[in-house]
């Protein structure tokens, strides 16, 4: 069943078009993450779904009802904000039940709901405190309590973890995931953090410049990004891009990186290779984990000898940057690889996991 649908939605602020004909269908019980750099329109889209922002063109449907002109409070949604947006003059308890009081829910029901939510979020000890007396994590819990207590149809999250420090962020991310697993309510979550998106989402919508670039399951987005933008945005360190040209002859298809006459890659195995013309200029995308110091008995392995220019230790592995074909490529080396700066080292490229993009349209081929 479809819980939320956005149809041909457009929005401008002055002369800037923030959203350009957005179409989005969200199934009941799914966790959608709107992911993109700042200014891509993801927060505006969320605000429009919430009813906090007016629509220029298009419509929003919740459970088949057109709610485009319905007040936020009547949309059966709840929202958690980046700055928590707790009412500073009210205690935690008053904050949580404010919405229920506005909706004139009976006292008895309010008490029941409060108790349930407070114990679920472990804020029952804090009920009489003011927001200024809470830590970041406790504030975030309270803000979530305020959303939970309404038992909404859809949860909306606007970068809820961005104000927390790194450790707490991971903790709260787990809490949100737990919350989702136990409630199975539809959730729409805005973030610019791809790690958050990958770990939480059942589907990610990658947005850029007011357009949804790709809407897919996290693994699909990671493995088969459908544009250069998505490929670059997802993954850390991000995907390596090697520009070059395709040459076809009778029984093989060869990729020659720009400025590297002696090196070529055999791409005959690529699934959509038939669609690529001779002499076409393309960008080959290769994730850093497929650039390694370890040899593998894969027939699509390509061995190169390259000089590292930067070595970064992560503990788990080493991110090694090489100059290659006029740009840089990053590889993930094992910690004991013995790689040294400015000393040639064998590098193995696993070409069975590549993405090819049209250089002109920047779309996946």
């Amino acid at each position: 069943m479809v819980a939320l649908q956005v149809k041909d939605l457009s929005k401008s602020f002055g002369n800037t078009r923030v959203l350009k004909k957005i179409n989005l269908t969200i199934d009941e019980g799914s966790f959608i993450v709107l992911l993109g750099p700042s200014g891509c329109g993801k927060s505006t889209l969320l605000n429009i779904i919430a009813g906090l922002e007016t629509i220029d063109e298009g419509n929003v449907f919740i459970d088949d009802y057109n709610v485009s002109k319905v007040e936020p409070k009547d949309r059966n949604i709840a929202m958690v904000f980046q700055s928590y947006a707790l009412y500073p003059s009210m205690t935690v308890k008053e904050n949580i039940i404010f919405g229920l009081k506005q909706a004139r829910v009976s006292k008895k029901k309010i008490e029941e709901q409060l108790e349930k939510v407070a114990s679920f979020l472990k804020v029952d000890e804090l009920l009489n405190r003011k927001p200024s007396q809470l830590s970041g994590g406790q504030r975030q819990r309270t803000a979530m309590g305020r959303a939970l207590v309404r038992e909404p149809r859809i949860f909306l999250f606007d970068e809820p973890l961005s104000n927390l420090d790194a450790k707490l962020r991971v903790e709260m991310r787990h809490e949100i995931k737990k919350l989702y697993t136990s409630l199975k309510t539809t959730m729409v979550y805005v973030t610019h953090d791809q790690v958050e998106a990958m770990s939480l989402a059942s589907k990610i919508a990658v947005m850029n410049e007011g357009i949804i670039q790709q809407l897919d399951a996290p693994q699909k987005i990671y493995d088969k990004p459908n544009s250069l933008f998505v490929a670059d945005f997802i993954g850390s360190p991000s995907m390596n891009f090697i520009k070059g040209t395709i040459t076809r002859d009778s029984n093989s298809i060869i990729f020659i990186p720009n400025g590297e006459n002696e090196i070529n890659f055999d791409l005959t195995h690529y699934e959509f290779i038939d669609k690529i013309e001779d002499n076409q200029r393309i960008v080959l995308g290769l994730r850093p984990e497929y650039v390694s110091n370890l040899e593998d008995n894969n027939k699509n392995m390509k061995k190169l000898s390259l000089k590292p220019v930067i070595i970064e230790t992560t503990g788990f592995d080493k991110n090694v940057t090489f100059d290659f074909a006029g740009s840089e490529i990053i590889g993930r080396f094992t910690p004991n690889s013995g790689v040294e700066l400015n000393k040639n080292h064998n590098v193995y490229l696993n070409l069975s996991q590549i993405s090819l993009f049209n250089e002109k349209t920047e779309m996946r081929m």
């Binding site: 007040e71 936020p72 980046q82 700055s83 947006a85 009412y87 500073p88 919405g99």
Partner: protein, 300 residues
Amino acid sequence: MSASNSLNYKKLEDKSRIKNLFLRYFLYIILGLFAFYFIFPLYVMLVTSFKTMEEIRQGNLLTLPSQLNIDSWLVAWGGRGYGAGDTYLRPFFWNSTKMVVPATIFSTFIGAMTGYVLTKWRFKGDNWVFLFLLFGCFIPYQAILLPMARTLGVLGISNSIFGLIVVHSIYGIPFTTLFFRNYYVSIPNELIKAARIDGAGFFKIFFKILLPISAPIIVVTVIWQFTQIWNDFLFGATFSFGEAAPIQVALNNMVLSSTSVKEYNVDMASAIIAGFPTLIVYVLAGKYFIRGLTSGAVKG
């Protein structure tokens, strides 16, 4: 670290300590001078008000009175008790009170409302509205005297306390709006969004969420408005006379209209009485005044 090095550091330490000590003393001397400069006139006023005329005529301006003589204070407040021409401050003090309290409350409230709308319920052209309101802060008092007099005449409220309340309220709105707007601009809009999702409307959000956290700026605005309105002379002198005048006008009449001998002790006592309420307001709420002027964002 070698011995010579540590010796060097010792020297440098001493040097910086002496320098800091010197600067500290210098600072306190300067501060003391300024404090003296500002407190001195008040001292002269106070000692003069407790002297008899006899003492004033012969004595030095700075000497303390031989005894605390409160006669001049009683005269300034309650008059001498004879009929015509006896001007004293008591009725005018109440005139000013009746004027300043409603005008301050009203202009502060309106300013809070407009500040709220201009920051949290943005509409097309709101910046222009704000610009024109700001314009009101820079229009000199003298420029609006004639149109205001005409307006009050048409409304039939010239030469009345009510008329002055209206004038001061209207004239105060640009300032109060400016204060509240600048305060509310620093309050995150997400707070309003959250309240809207929770089902609160325009007034609910204002009264339940914004006003309870506006204490610092309310104090600033109230002090500002109270001081402005209480100390105003021009509007009072222009739009009222006789029994409807506020205290500053009465003070002027008292000091300037005495035909016989200048009674400096009574004049000084009157001036202190006329300035007393603003002094009290500032002493009581001054701490919040500074805090409100410098504070902005509401955290949490």
